[in-house]
Amino acid sequence: MTAYLIRRILALVPVLAVVVSVAFLLIHLIPGDPVSVMLGPDATPAQIQAARHALGLDRPLPEQLLKFYARVLRGDLGRSYFLDRPVTQALLERAEPTLVLTLSALLVAIVIGVPSGIVAAAQPGSLWDRTLMLAALLGVCVPGFWLSLNFIYLFAVRLGWLPAAGYASIFVDPVAALRYMVLPAVSLGFSQSALIARISRSCMLEALQQDYIRTARAKGLSHATVTWVHAFRNALVPVVTVIGITMAILIGGAVVTEIVFNIPGLGRLIISAVLRRDYPVVQGVILATATAYVLINLGVDMLYVFIDPRIRYE
């Protein structure tokens, strides 16, 4: 287990190296002179020269890349001109809403998705099965950000049940936080619940066809025990992997949801950074989310071994 863990962590090094390189190359994808683009049309040649030197853009490319690696390894992601603070500080300030939103949406996706898949698998081809799978297909196709707008119209504008937009920290005012979070979490989690439902269904169907299920039924165990204890626990393994993938998609989706609901998280941070050409912040956000994604996948792999003792990755 430890050897596997170490091997798995070492395998992350090249992936993270590529991630950092992509973030670095972003500056060099800017058409023309990145410094004059960043500083805008009012910058004097002296300012441009100074900024170019400060960013190290007057050095050869390999040297710049090595310096960038060294900086990132030290945890220094540069400084945001507009926010007037280090990028890492800006990321930490904005991480909470994104994290809360992503986890709430994941909860919604699992709570809707897993039971739907199991109910559908219990009687394949039944009306329940077909209705749920049609809903899942639609769920996959409905764009989350558009669903959010329709939810706002229905539940905030028409019915007035929930606030249309905004955010409250769960540590400051839990009740308000919950009221603000319901619509974003449901609209973000819904389309992922469709994916989870489809996978849960097919995994359950496969598990229900196994011999030990027949044995359990023959023993006279109740339908519920067979479904939930024997089949469900074995169907869980692939579902956990999908939940890991879901988490990664949710991080991306959270960005868009934050814009719709005016939530001050990483999504709003990167979009305003794009519009202000605040490139260190753009680099910081994509580095942070990609690292989070890689670590989540590592966690899911570990969980996998934990759930299914047959997997030992010798």
């Binding site: 090249p14 992936v15 993270l16 190296a17 590529v18 991630v19 390189s21 992509v22 973030a23 972003l26 500056i27 994808l29 800017i30 058409p31 394949p124 297909l137 639609l138 996959v140 196709c141 409905v142 764009p143 950000f145 558009w146 707008l149 329709n150 706002i152 119209y153 504008v157 489809r198 097919s202 169907l205 496969e206 990664a248 998609i249 991080i251 991306g252 989706g253 960005v255 868009v256 814009i259 719709v260 990167i270 979009i271 950074a273 794009v274 519009l275 050409r277 490139y279 753009v282 680099q283 956000v285 994509i286 989310t289 990609a290 994604y293 890689v294």
Partner: protein, 282 residues
């Protein structure tokens, strides 16, 4: 079964798949709408008409008007052009890039390690965030949206082609071709690539769907095609500002987006079930 018979039943099998037929019908409808946008639309989608702003759906404006008095039906019809251009070009470019990277990686073991780590690294970014970052560097515009989405989605296709190549290159007939003195490139194009067409078609229809959705998201966030271009994402974004007074502005382009996504997903599901029954979801 002889080769000729197998080939003859191909279109038949596709025609019998309900998913393929429904999906193809929906996609054809959207494509026709885009091709004949000028004839189908009732107004010039770019013409501002402040006197008629935020009018609900009526006989003059089938789907109402937006905050600038533009006709929503005409905006939706013309918006499909941007979506389809971005979707189709991204699909073509990712297939091309995927074939090149996948073939090279599947064939040359030494390059394989490097290429696959680069693909892993690119796939570590949440897709939409990488697209946003690339748009931040390149600036708004249809060409840049296509560039960004192609970079984001090529690794998936490359992985797919690579795994297909790896499973086929060890088969006897490839060995036979090599024994006959065929060169690598000839084997790749004559014997290996044709086997990748099925998976590519399936993957292509899903990438088409992702690209249309991602284009709309970028437009909605204000970092896609310029705001004055009628595109579904842009119209939904302008509808967001007036959702209290005029829900129709964001509702209808979103429906068009959902419908296109549904068509492409059905097509992809159906193609997968028909072309590769092993992958069929029970």
């Amino acid at each position: 079964m002889s080769d000729a018979v197998a080939r003859a039943t191909w279109p038949r099998r596709l025609g019998r798949s309900r998913n393929v037929v429904t999906g193809a019908l929906i996609v054809t409808l959207v494509v026709l709408g885009a091709l004949f946008a000028g004839a189908v639309s009732t107004h010039n989608p770019r013409r501002l008409d402040p006197a008629n702003r935020l009018k609900p759906p009526s006989a003059q404006n089938y789907l109402g008007t937006d905050e600038f008095g533009r006709d929503v039906w005409s905006l939706v019809v013309h918006g499909s052009q941007v979506s389809l251009i971005v979707g189709a070009t991204t699909m073509a470019l990712t297939s091309l890039g995927g074939i090149v990277v996948g073939l090279v990686a599947g064939y040359y073991r030494r390059l394989d390690i490097v290429l696959m780590r680069v693909m892993d690294g690119l796939m570590a970014f949440p897709a939409i965030l990488l697209a946003i970052a690339l748009m931040a560097a390149r600036g708004s515009g249809v060409g840049n949206v296509i560039f960004a989405l192609s970079v984001v989605y090529t690794p998936r296709t490359a992985m797919l082609i690579r795994s297909t190549v790896l499973s086929i290159r060890e088969l006897d007939y490839v060995l036979a071709a090599r024994a006959l003195g065929r060169r690598d490139l000839a084997i790749a194009f004559r014997h290996i690539l044709p086997n990748c067409i099925g998976p590519l078609l399936v993957q292509g229809s899903f990438i088409f769907a992702y690209a249309i959705l991602a284009e709309a998201i970028l437009g909605f966030l204000g970092v896609g095609v310029p705001p004055y271009v009628p595109s579904w994402g842009n119209v939904i974004a302008s509808g967001k500002n007036v959702i209290r007074e005029a829900f129709w502005v964001s509702l209808f382009p979103g429906l068009a987006l959902t419908l296109s996504g549904l068509g492409l997903n059905l097509l992809g599901d159906g193609l997968r079930d028909t072309l590769d029954p092993r992958l069929r979801v029970p």
